[in-house]
Symmetry: C2
Subunit: 121 residues, 2 copies
């Protein structure tokens, strides 16, 4: 089973406090309702979290080894209520190609991780 | 002035609750003291936050436009007490090359963002 994250407004509010990014498009549902998105948007790091967990699980490590490379392209915004999972497109000794997809199967991030050895478990 | 983030254990604990990644290397200072790092490590998204803020400020946008690309390489772990800032190495209409550096000037992440147009302010 690959990792996934179900986004909540509480999670977004908590991330705003970590990052200091309290833009109303993230934390004010009324404001966000009047934007083209119609609802709040998760900060870009939140849908990325399953990628870190996938790679850690793949390597059996608690944190990514130094030198780990990552390539990302953001494709769609993520909102409260979305569940973001991962589809592995390619998996080899040197890296993983993936898509983060929402519960409708729409890709929200596509990318690749270049694996390096080392790190701590 | 470029964005920066000063990492605290509370921030890491809060991020653990968002991500579900409560590995003791992140949240248990006693456990972490016995690892090669000697102290807790911030989840990989935390030192990345100034990058999102830099790009948003550069574009005058609240969120990254769809299609935004990012290339990253993790170079060093980040710990509570670290202040992570950004050094812009190149800045053109199509993208920004950067290093996230800690308060000792050591690069912790290096990377590039490929800018696309669009998005909401």
């Amino acid at each position: 089973m690959t990792p996934s994250i179900t986004i909540t407004q509480a999670m977004i509010d908590s991330y705003a406090a970590i990052s200091g990014d309290f833009n109303p498009v993230h934390v004010d549902p009324d404001f966000a309702a009047a934007t083209p998105f119609g609802r709040t948007i998760a900060h870009g790091c939140i849908p990325l979290e399953p990628v870190f967990r996938l790679v850690q699980a793949r390597l059996g490590l608690a944190v990514l080894p130094q030198g780990t490379g990552m390539k990302l392209r953001y494709l769609r915004p993520c909102h409260p209520g979305d569940t973001i999972g991962i589809v592995v497109k390619a998996d080899g000794p040197e890296g993983i190609e993936f898509q983060c997809v929402n519960q409708r199967g729409e890709p929200v991030i596509e990318g690749a991780v270049r694996l390096v050895s080392g790190g701590i478990s």
